[in-house]
Amino acid sequence: MSTPASIWRQHKKLHTYLNKAGQLIVWTKIFVAPVGFEHQTPYLVGIVQLEGERLPLQIVDCEEKDLKINQKVKIVIRKIGKAKSEDVIEYGLKVKPL
């Protein structure tokens, strides 16, 4: 569960990832989503190899047919899930194909 303080801690790190590029190792298209993501289905999530670390990230601004194994991708900052009207809006890392 995200709280305002945990979102604030997370947000402080985001800028260090801006404009980083990586490679998409593997991905899946999700049709049954957890709470807060239902409105996005179907959506793409993959494992991305960045310099020195691997992260699970959503893939945006593309269709599945545009992706290939080892696809080059770039980090972008986007809204995460759907916040309720009184909640803090959470932003986080996603990737888009280069």
Partner: protein, 377 residues
Amino acid sequence: MRIKVRGTGLTKFGELWDKSLSDLAQQASLEAIADAGLEKNQIEAVFVANMIYGKLTGQDHLGALVASSLDITGGSVRVEAACASGGLAVHLAIQSLLSGTYQNVLVVGAEKMTDASPAAISSALMGAGSEAERRAGLTFPALYALMAKAHMQKFGTTRSHLASVSVKNHYHASMNKKAQFPFEVTMEKVLESPIISSPFTLFDASPITDGAGAVVLSSDFSTPGVYISGSAVATDTVDLAKRKSLTELAATKQASQQALKMAGVQISDIKVAEVHDCFTIAEILAMEDLGFCEKGMGGEFVQKGHTRLGGKIPVNTSGGLKACGHPVGATGVKQIIEVTQQLQQKAGKRQVKGANIGLTHNVGGSGATVVVHILQT
């Protein structure tokens, strides 16, 4: 090491709307205690395995809740390790017996899942994943789908390899009246069902299930019977992306090698196994990582029928998580019950002839906890 499986009890698995969590835990426990030939007041401690009831309902403190519903006043603890909660509870109960503190203890795994919505269940189960995985909108089907895609890319595993796990486990479940889905399915049905997370269709996934299983474990060897001769737990990163390999569960290798060594047997000695097929790829990975076949060959191994009843090594004779059902906290206990019944030659139509050594393999999360047990007669 020798710990006796003195009694077992298992509820029907399925959508049991008229049963609460306590009803299920009580039913399985009373059956196990009676099967053990004991009275309730002879049970010295209770280990309750449960993963998500607290999150779904707000009710915690399940150790005392379950023990008191049985009028047992000895020590009780709730054990949680995601979908490996049941296996871990058995492991910890064994340690309590080996320490000499107790002689007869009850392990009961119970889960009540069908009261909640699919989205609430998906979110609750993702408690077994990492913060980064939740933020990426991942689900458990999706995490295993990523492993399936990686396995397909690296070893050429196919959709029909995956589907053959589901077809085989439904065939086994058709002979198990406790199973949630006691009927067969065709390859076409599996392949043509709706996609939940590519490449998985609905029939690649274990269902949402209510159910409970209980065993009485004992250090009393005055009568013969099935005993546990190996018990090991291994852990790995909770975050799938942080693993060295996406096509193996290192914790399966570590736990199984340790449990086999403890029991003094080889993997080739195993006559029957219950493995963690939460998704079809998970059973293929288990075949490889436990050492039943070579790495990369798991799909072919299953499709050729080697793991079907009558094959080289029958796997998931209960129907597995896929077709018997997956009440997450109960699964690891149910696996012990199925293998015990096989070794007692009491498995009816699904009996593996001459089964004298068996293995259970219970996984938590996407592979962060693995518990392996070896059972013998």
